[in-house]
């Protein structure tokens, strides 16, 4: 009777220990997965943040270039307006038939000039896309900062080393292989020359 009872107890203990071991193994593999995830996040989150900042900067540069061109064209439009007024003055001195024909053409040119000026002002107004997209990207960057902070907390809790190092060395290039550092045309030309193209 006592012998059976001891065997049963040992068997139960063995089963319990086996379950416990299984649980410990699963936890260990889970922790490994968390560590891998945190390490991946430690690299990709700051890289994404850097990329977003770079996009904002590129958009600003592009917007400024377009606006500089627009400002020059608008200045030419102002000059155009003055020239058309002079032309009107000259045409008013012509005989009736020529004056009417000349004024009709000048009027048409003025209408075209006004229309294109309005359209250019519309382009100007819509350049605010940079500001609007920039504000949205800023919010995305703030969200990424929150994720980064949470990853940092997890890394601290689980004693994951190298987290800070990886986060600090994030660069805009090599973002999951999707985006790489852009190269200047000069660099591309040099590279092509080196490659014999």
């Amino acid at each position: 009777m006592n012998g059976n009872s001891s065997e049963n107890l040992i068997q139960k203990l063995t089963e319990e220990l086996s379950r416990l071991l299984n649980y410990v193994e699963k936890t260990k593999s889970g922790l490994g997965y968390i560590e891998d995830t945190v390490m991946v996040g430690s690299e990709t989150v700051p890289q994404a943040s850097v990329q977003i900042s770079a996009v904002t900067g590129d958009l600003e540069s592009a917007a400024n270039i377009i606006m500089s061109i627009l400002e020059e064209v608008l200045a030419e439009h102002d000059r155009n307006h003055v020239l058309l007024e002079s032309l009107s003055g000259w045409a008013s001195g012509l005989n009736e038939k020529d004056r009417e024909e000349g004024m009709a053409i000048i009027s048409e040119i003025k209408q075209i000039t006004e229309k294109t000026k309005t359209q250019m002002m519309d382009i100007f107004s819509n350049m605010s896309f940079h500001d609007l997209s920039g504000q949205k990207l800023k919010k995305v960057n703030l969200s990424l900062s929150v994720v980064q902070s949470k990853l940092h907390d997890i890394a601290t809790t689980f004693g994951i080393k190298d987290f800070e190092t990886k986060a600090k060395t994030a660069s805009p290039g090599n973002f999951n292989g999707i985006v790489n550092d852009p190269m200047d045309q000069d660099v591309v030309d040099r590279l092509l020359k080196e490659l014999g193209t």
Binding site: N64, M67, L70, S125, N126, S128, H130, D131
Partner: protein, 132 residues
């Protein structure tokens, strides 16, 4: 009486946006324009005197537009300065907050030159009517 010679302060943290507003203001006849990149810089400039009108963004570092508006309304020397809020914050509660803080008008980005002119004219006509 405010007119086309009035001095306007454009406040926005994005240089591109300040450039857009300045060009649109020029196009609609306002050439006396200065700029600031946040509320606190704007407030310093305003305290220096000489400004007749403020066009400000809402979202800015250091001092957002809504705080600039409140500071203007709280300053006895500046409290009557017209303020036009130009912002991407189109939520109803933002408009309500701005109106409660004493904004003269509110325009949502992106906007056309005609829309900006219309708001400025509305503000000036209202103010001129009050003065008369």
């Amino acid at each position: 009486m405010l007119d086309n010679n009035m001095k306007i302060l454009v406040v926005d943290d994005f240089s591109t946006m300040r450039r857009i507003i300045k060009n649109i203001l020029k196009e609609i006849g306002y050439v006396n324009v200065d700029e600031a990149d946040d509320g606190s810089t704007a407030l310093e400039k305003l305290k220096g005197g000489g400004f007749d009108f403020v066009v400000t963004d809402w979202n800015m570092p250091n001092m957002p537009g809504i705080d600039l508006l409140k500071a203007i309304r709280a300053d006895p020397a500046l409290k009557h300065t017209p303020v036009l809020m130009v912002t991407a914050e189109a939520a109803k509660e933002n408009v309500v907050i701005a109106v409660q803080a004493g904004v003269n008008n509110y325009i949502v980005k992106p906007f056309t030159a005609a829309a900006l002119k219309e708001r400025i004219d509305l503000i000036l006509n209202k103010l001129n009517a009050t003065v008369a």
